[in-house]
Symmetry: C2
Subunit: 469 residues, 2 copies
């Protein structure tokens, strides 16, 4: 309040002197008062960092996550494991004494992969490692045995569409970036089906592999036949491309027992530290509790969920009471397109003016480098200032774009959004694969991520003013 009042006075004075602030300047510059206010959190930031990185809470988020991931295992939408995970977290948050611990019902897709395999029958016998893609239809019980057409792009498929009829299309597209290459996983089956293919096998969306297939969601289109679809390893995709380039016929038998059940009940899991002064105003920290059905979902998104939980724990441990409510949301159904987040948005969007910032960690909790941020220039200026509080651990960067699957609904509506940024160099090596386990997580990196997450969320929750939109 004080801050906004001062700005108003200064603007008025400037207007009286005939020197209007340029629009840009007024947004980019934050007042000295706000700078002082943020600098005033220096000791608290240090206390949070000390507790998270060197103190009693050191390695806690890692250890909690390990116990959780080892106990529950992977947590696919609609699965018993996801129910167990939600119950586990509900109890843990309650036992810790967090406030308003509750579950918000969500209807989520329920797809199971069942038994699945692929065999190259010709030119020689070879077992192809596959992971069926989420929402894929099954093959007939006897499987599909067909010749393979290998293409390296959609363009090649369109050009050779005549050859695809009755075949299994194998995509051996190069990996450029996840965002660009993932279209082959998402739309590979539809494009192959349009050309008359009977199934599609897609090179996994990663730059590195130890014969490791990666799963993920894929999307059928109405009026296009639904064909079974799975990802294969880089190695097998490249091998079939080489064999095919020799003019040698490849025959593959694909068997998938995938099954889609009616939507299941699930829950977003919520806990709070209720604000001392503006309890209706909310700083939301989040990660998703569901995962794919392979590995342990330790990285995607156990890490993000557990550093979000850790933010509340650290603040509670330090006896801090932010002015605004700090709300932890552990989303469900993220891997099916952010189903839990979408339903949360529909339920709470009426209260959007009270959402100060929405924060999501869903791109790893490796060595942190800073935050992605979407918001007004002025809010960005404040965020930059807040990040200076993290100089003791040298994580001070603010990058473009703070969106993410689970917060984008809010961000598109103008709520400031922040996402954790970290060293992603190996992230997609493990993503949606059997390699997403606790082995890839590093306790000291998680400590640093938790410190960043906590300092930022606490300071925003405690400042006099909400972030300007």
């Amino acid at each position: 309040m004080k801050c906004l009042f001062l700005i108003a006075i200064i603007q008025l004075l400037l207007q009286c002197t005939g020197k209007p602030l340029s629009g840009d300047d007024s947004y980019q510059k934050i007042s000295e008062d706000v700078k002082r206010e943020i600098a005033g959190y220096s000791d608290i930031a240090k206390a949070i960092i000390n507790l998270a990185v060197y103190g009693n809470a050191k390695n806690r988020s890692y250890e909690r996550l390990a116990l959780f991931a080892d106990t529950v295992g992977p947590r696919l939408s609609g699965s018993k494991n996801l129910d167990v995970a939600i119950e586990y977290m509900f109890s843990a948050l309650q036992e810790e004494g967090l406030e308003n611990v509750h579950l918000e019902p969500v209807k989520v897709p329920h797809w199971e992969r069942g038994e699945e395999f692929a065999l190259m029958l010709a030119p020689r016998s070879h077992s192809i490692s596959i992971l069926g893609l989420g929402s894929s239809v099954p093959t007939p019980p006897e499987g599909i045995t067909a010749e393979v057409l290998v293409v390296s792009s959609f363009d090649e498929l369109y050009k050779r569409a005549e050859e695809a009829k009755g075949k299994i299309v194998v995509y051996n597209q190069p990996y450029t970036s996840y965002g660009e290459t993932v279209q082959y996983r998402a739309q590979g089956a539809v494009e192959a089906a349009k050309a008359g293919a009977v199934a599609s096998l897609i090179r996994s969306i990663t730059s590195f592999s130890i014969n490791s297939p990666h799963t993920g969601w894929q999307y059928y289109q109405s009026n296009v036949p639904k064909i079974p679809t799975a990802c294969i390893s880089i190695e097998d995709a490249e091998m079939m491309a080489r064999i095919s380039s020799q003019g040698t016929k490849i025959i593959v038998k694909l068997k998938m027992g995938a099954k889609t059940y009616p939507d299941a009940y699930s829950f977003n899991t919520v806990a709070e530290i209720v604000g001392s002064k503006y309890p209706d105003q909310v700083v939301l920290v989040s990660g998703h509790l569901d995962s794919w059905d392979v590995g342990q979902g330790a990285m995607d998104d156990g890490g993000g969920a557990f550093i979000s939980w850790e933010a509340l724990s650290l603040i509670k441990d330090l006896g801090l009471c932010p002015k605004r409510t700090l709300r932890l949301v552990l989303w469900t159904g993220e891997e099916q397109g952010g189903v839990g987040a979408e339903q949360y948005y529909q339920l709470h969007k009426g209260n959007i003016s009270n959402f100060d910032i929405v924060m999501e960690s869903d791109e790893g909790t490796f060595m942190p480098t800073g935050l992605g941020f979407t918001g007004s220039d002025k809010a960005r200026g404040i965020m930059k200032e807040i990040m200076q509080l993290l100089q003791p651990i040298n994580v001070t960067n603010i990058y473009e774009s703070g969106g993410g699957t689970d917060i984008d609904y809010w961000v598109k509506d103008g709520v400031p959004g922040a996402s954790l940024r970290d060293d992603l160099s190996k992230y997609f090596w493990f993503h949606h694969s059997q390699g997403d386990t606790m082995t890839v997580q590093d306790p000291s990196q998680m400590n640093l991520c938790a410190a960043v997450w906590t300092v930022v969320s606490y300071v925003i929750a405690d400042m006099e003013e909400m972030l300007p939109r």
Copy 2:
């Protein structure tokens, strides 16, 4: 001859002047004549490099290997695939017009893994990725279901031996180096069995994993019960260690259908460029043709075998006729302890004085850095000089130790030995795993390896004198 004669004259002159050469100096220094002789190969070395790296033979070793590996697949000792591989190579070497192409019979172990799996039944259901170890006995048809004892070292096993009785011992030993850590794979079953364990599961011998188990040979001891043994991934070993450290009981069901058959007939595959002046004297270049039964054996040891073949091809393409015979040997049964190499040694050791140098490439064909070498100081001096011919591609290092499984019999008997050295940083990530495929091979790196291998083997085969022992 000329060279030795000059050295003798110089030595005689020095002795006459009362200044005896120190023993070390006489070995380390090579004569100016030899230096000149080696420098005289500069143009030939450049021609080899140009052909291998930039010319018509560019990428040939990679392309040949890809066609071979894609056609044949993995080639376990005793398998049909290994027979196919040997026939394939015999034909290819003959078709190329190499000399004395022939097969030398070898009796090799014949072990097959059969169907195998492991399930963690408690505290939750989880499929454990395994690869049974070569020579392992099977489980009973119904499998073995037992509680797990996790240890991190043999020492811990010895201390907790009382607890191991009737259990499945899981080794979660840290990876220090392959040479040190591989003892757990080789002896893990025996040590566990001594303590009364019913099976052993061993963390794979690698520093990095995407839930990837690695196989390999293991050794039973007489008077110690033979128990089934397999490797598991780093991830599962670490997970069971964490669960166990919580005091939680782990139950695993292990099923292995491994079978040991009577020894099979196999062959070392040999081809030559017969020496123009000293045809009985031999420079041997080699790699092994057999592999494990997973992946494609492209790295271990397809790469080594195919750059060795490439050495003969490049020399033939350039119309070069070395004075000594250049002999390619593609070993069989290396993965079972160098069975083919041992039988080759027994057969040919009578001719040992005619073996100039034995060269083996079996530690990757990634970016080459030089050669490991074992031999006299004087021979080392000559090798250093020869490596200077590789300055155009900046691969000039000579390291200690040029041994290897397939040449050690000769090296121990005093024959100079050389092994290719290259960037091993990812080698053990793929070694003996499903990840050992053409995808890990790089054509331009193979070109460089082939150039090194060819220049060195040709120059040694063509110099006036054999390397001094």
